[in-house]
C-alpha cells in the first residue's frame, strides 16, 4: 500500500463512484417503494406470463410458484438486473483502469517509473476497489432501509436478513471483481477488457435464464455467479448462506491472486 498511489486513485475515481452511488441509491429506493406499493397489480397477473415467471425464477434463484408473496416481490429489489449491472458496471470501470487502462493510455510508464512495486500498485488499487464496492453496497442498504419505513409493515423485509443479503451482494461484487482484475492484468487494451467482462456478465445472466427452461444446462449451473446469490431464500430461512458467501469470496480471491501473479510477471509495453 502506498498513500501517494491511493491519493491518485481517489482523485481519479471519486466522481464516477459518486455517480454510481447516486444511481444505486435511487434505484434501490425506487424499487423498495414501488414493488410493495403496486404489489397487488404485479402479483395478480405477472406470473401467468411464463416468460416473466422464468425471468423472476432466474433472478431469485428459485421458482416462486403460482402466487408471488410480498417477501419474494420485495427481494426482487436486491436482484434486479439494473442494480446488479450498476454494481458490475462500476467495478468493470474501476478494475480495468489498472493495468489495462494505464497501459492503453501509456500512463503506466510514469506510474511504474515511481519507486513502487507492481504488487504495491495492485494492492493500493485493490483497497480503493474494495472500499468503493463496500460504499455502493452500503448505499443500497441505507437507501432500502430508509424507504422501507414508508412501506406497509406487513410488507417489510426483516432487517437482520437484509444485512445478510447485503453481505452476499458484496460477495458477488468481490467474486466478479476478481475476474475483472485478471482480465485487466492480461490485457493491453481497456476497451477489450471491458468488452470481455460485460460478455461474462451477460453470459452469467443468460445461463441463469437458460437453466429455468432447459434441464441439461443445470449441470453447469455452478458456473453462474448468480447461483451463489439468492436473496429470496435468505429472506425465507433463518440460515446464513455460508456456502454461497465463502464460494464467492474464494472465487474472488483466487482470480485476484491470478491477476496479481500475471501483472507482476508480465512485460509492460506501451509502444
Amino acid at each position: 500500500m502506498n498513500l501517494g498511489l491511493i491519493q491518485k486513485t481517489v482523485r481519479e475515481v471519486w466522481a464516477v463512484t459518486l455517480i454510481f452511488a447516486i444511481g444505486v441509491a435511487f434505484f434501490e429506493g425506487f424499487l423498495t417503494y414501488i414493488l410493495p406499493t403496486y404489489f397487488d397489480e404485479f402479483a395478480g397477473h405477472i406470473l401467468e406470463i411464463k416468460f416473466v415467471r422464468n425471468i423472476i425464477t432466474a433472478m431469485l434463484g428459485s421458482d416462486v410458484g403460482e402466487r408471488i408473496g410480498p417477501a419474494a416481490m420485495l427481494s426482487f429489489s436486491w436482484v434486479h438486473p439494473v442494480l446488479l449491472l450498476t454494481l458490475w458496471g462500476q467495478e468493470i470501470t474501476f478494475c480495468t483502469r489498472t493495468p489495462a487502462g494505464e497501459i492503453d493510455r501509456g500512463t503506466i510508464d510514469i506510474l511504474l517509473g515511481l519507486p513502487v512495486s507492481r504488487l504495491q500498485l495492485y494492492i493500493s488499487e485493490t483497497i480503493i476497489w474494495l472500499s468503493t464496492g463496500l460504499l455502493l453496497v452500503l448505499v443500497a442498504l441505507a437507501s432500502h432501509l430508509m424507504v422501507r419505513s414508508f412501506v406497509a409493515e406487513n410488507m417489510r423485509l426483516p432487517v437482520d436478513r437484509i444485512f445478510i443479503v447485503a453481505l452476499n451482494l458484496y460477495g458477488i461484487y468481490i467474486a466478479f471483481g476478481g475476474i475483472v482484475w485478471l482480465v485487466s492484468a492480461l490485457s493491453n487494451r481497456r476497451g477489450k477488457a471491458m468488452g470481455i467482462c460485460f460478455a461474462l456478465v451477460l453470459a452469467s445472466m443468460l445461463l441463469n435464464f437458460i437453466i429455468t427452461m432447459w434441464e441439461p444446462a443445470k449441470s453447469i449451473q455452478f458456473l453462474s455467479i448468480l447461483d451463489y446469490y439468492r436473496p429470496w431464500q435468505i429472506f425465507q430461512s433463518d440460515a446464513w448462506p455460508v456456502r454461497d458467501i465463502v464460494s464467492l469470496m474464494t472465487t474472488g480471491l483466487a482470480f485476484w491472486l491470478a491477476g496479481a501473479w500475471v501483472f507482476v510477471r508480465r512485460d509492460v509495453c506501451t509502444v
Partner: protein, 298 residues
C-alpha cells in the same frame, strides 16, 4: 563505482530481437548519450533498466540491484522520463509534484518549484490544456525534482524549444558535475556531442560504438582548405599521407585529415601557403558510418 551494469542483456519479442547481448557499464557521475536510429533498441534497453520489461536472457543492474527483481528499490534513486510521455489529463505541475512526493515519501516541492520556474511552466495548468512541449517540460520537472542519483531520459529534448533545450543541457551538466549520472537517448547528434562525456551507439539491437566524445573527435575527419600563394606554387608539391585531397584547383586544395592538426601545421611550414583553414571535427559523418549497417550500404 558502477551505476549501470548490463551483462549479455537480450530481449526478444517473439521472433523479433529487441536487443542482443548488450553489455555495458556506466560509471557514477557520467553523462552518457545513447544513440541509434529508430528501432535500434534504445527504448527497449531503457525499459529493461526500469523493470518494465523482463529480460529474455542476461541481466541488468542499477546501483548493484537487479532491474527486474528489485525494480522498486532501483527506482527509488532513478528519475525517469519515458520516450512517448503520457501524463494524466488532470495533472498540474503543482498536484503532480505533491502526489509524486507522497509516493516517494519525500517533500521535493521546493526543488519542483525551482524547476517549474526554470522551465517557465504554469504550476496550475492542467495537462489536457498543455502543448506537447509543455507536457515534456512537466515530465522533466517530475523526473528531476527528486534529484535522483541516476536520470534515465528517453529523448528528453523532443518537442522542446531551443531555449528550454539549452536550460535542460545546463541543468544536466550541472547535475553530472555534482556526481549524478545522466543516461539519455537521443536522435540528435549535435546535442550528444555538446553535452555528453561518452556516447554509446546502438544499431539493430547491438552496441556498435562505445567511446568518449574526445576519442571520437580524435578519430573524426577535419575538413582542411589550403590556399596557395600563386597557382604554380603547388604544382610540384604532393600531399602528405594523412591528408586526403578531395578537390584541387589552381589556388587551393580541399581535403580531410585524420591526424592531429599539429602534424599538418608542421608539414605546412616550408610550403608556399597563403592561408589555411581547419574546420571542427565532423562527427556527423562518423556517426552516420555507425548508423548505416554493412548490409544497408551494399
Amino acid at each position: 563505482m558502477s551505476c549501470i551494469v548490463t551483462n549479455n542483456l537480450k530481449k526478444s519479442y517473439g521472433s523479433r530481437v529487441g536487443i542482443e547481448n548488450l553489455s555495458m557499464t556506466v560509471a557514477a557521475g557520467e553523462l552518457i548519450g545513447f544513440l541509434g536510429p529508430n528501432g535500434a533498441g534504445k527504448t527497449t534497453t531503457i525499459r529493461l533498466l526500469m523493470g518494465l520489461l523482463k529480460p529474455t536472457s542476461g541481466d541488468a543492474s542499477v546501483f548493484a540491484q537487479d532491474c527486474w527483481l528489485q525494480s522498486h528499490k532501483v527506482k527509488a534513486d532513478v528519475g525517469y522520463l519515458p520516450g512517448d510521455l503520457r501524463l494524466y489529463p488532470w495533472f498540474t505541475a503543482k498536484n503532480a509534484l505533491k502526489i509524486f512526493g507522497r509516493v516517494h515519501g519525500k517533500d521535493f516541492s521546493r526543488e519542483g518549484e525551482r524547476l517549474t520556474q526554470l522551465f517557465d511552466l504554469d504550476p496550475t495548468l492542467r495537462v489536457d490544456r498543455m502543448s506537447r512541449g509543455t507536457r515534456q517540460k512537466l515530465g522533466l520537472v517530475l523526473a528531476l525534482a527528486p534529484r535522483p542519483k541516476l536520470l534515465i531520459l528517453d529523448e528528453p529534448t523532443s518537442g522542446l524549444d531551443p531555449i528550454v533545450q539549452y536550460k535542460l543541457n545546463t541543468t544536466l551538466r550541472s547535475l553530472a558535475d555534482q556526481g549524478h549520472t545522466v543516461f539519455f537517448s537521443s536522435h540528435t547528434l549535435s546535442e550528444v556531442e555538446a553535452l555528453c562525456d561518452r556516447v554509446m551507439i546502438l544499431r539493430k539491437g547491438k552496441v556498435v560504438a562505445n567511446e568518449t566524445i574526445a576519442s571520437l573527435r580524435d578519430r573524426a575527419k577535419r575538413v582542411v582548405t589550403i590556399f596557395w600563394k600563386d597557382s604554380a606554387a603547388h604544382e610540384k608539391i604532393s600531399p602528405p599521407p594523412f591528408l586526403t585531397i578531395n578537390q584541387k584547383n589552381s589556388r587551393s586544395w580541399t581535403g580531410t585529415i585524420e591526424a592531429d592538426a599539429m602534424e599538418l601545421l608542421q608539414w605546412c611550414q616550408d610550403k608556399p601557403i597563403a592561408d589555411l583553414s581547419i574546420e571542427q571535427p565532423d562527427l556527423t559523418a562518423l556517426f552516420q558510418q555507425y548508423y548505416i549497417s554493412p548490409e544497408d550500404s551494399r
